[in-house]
Symmetry: C2
Subunit: 162 residues, 2 copies
Amino acid sequence: MPDSEPLDAVDTGIVSALSQDARATLTQLAEQVGLSVSSVQARLRRLESRGVITGYRPIVDAEAVGKPLAAFIEISPLDPAQPDNAPELLEHLDEIEACHSIAGDASYMLFVRVASPRELERLIGQIRQAAAVRTRTTIALQTFYEYRPLVPAASEKRPLGR
Amino acid sequence: MPDSEPLDAVDTGIVSALSQDARATLTQLAEQVGLSVSSVQARLRRLESRGVITGYRPIVDAEAVGKPLAAFIEISPLDPAQPDNAPELLEHLDEIEACHSIAGDASYMLFVRVASPRELERLIGQIRQAAAVRTRTTIALQTFYEYRPLVPAASEKRPLGR
DNA sequence: AGTGAAAGAATAAAAGA
DNA sequence: TCTTTTATTCTTTCACT
């Protein structure tokens, strides 16, 4: 439950700079936003402790780590009368990268990555069994882009000097 | 086009550690994998230049940055005879976080984030117009998890001391 | 490829405005 | 809440294995 206080321009600048490179140093961030390093450090810690920033991830080539096959899996309860806690029941399956509840035919949308069609088959079986659901799977053939920055670069927002 | 040489245990360890915290210092990574800092630095640079790691992102609370509404948008060409370069045509829309081509009824699956239903309506209009497609939108009601590490923590793979 | 050491850079903590 | 200062830690480079 992140703090609901709105972000000021400096906070937004920090988040924006990190969105381009989350390994940027405090010194680099400080240059970007025009404050001292210490201030930026305090701001960043506050953003983290308020839950505005909840972690940092590398963008990893899926093939290089042996998971070239991505898919969307929509799931729906077999028995709509049963209590539904599919996200919990599936949390241990670490092939699942994301889990959203959705408005539509299905109850949830998962995004998964696996090594092979064979592994996908196995994973779908595990999902069905673990959560008592039926599934509808859509294979991703090619990823054009993903993990695009949630907050666009600050330099793109005010085309001043460029 | 990332290098296809397979990752050894050390590389995997580095990627795994970064997957938990992409802002980890080289010193921390070195501890994790049991090599010197210099070696880890050289390894990490190599992973980056080979395209195994292509960037770093913060995980940002979508509400805090004013984009509380997420949706999946499937798109299909209005005229299947036309050349199809939808991903390019849509790239400038920075509300689009991801774009995959898919096997299924539709041609592409987008994942988008916007400020409001009104903004979603506007975005869908822009997508239709820019790429000459029809769309099918599924709203995300709640996100249980996302951006889960592609590579699980090394400590979870060999439950030795814990 | 990996190590260790030395110089330079970044971070953390503290004090004051 | 920002800045400056200082101590500590991290990163970088390089000579060597």
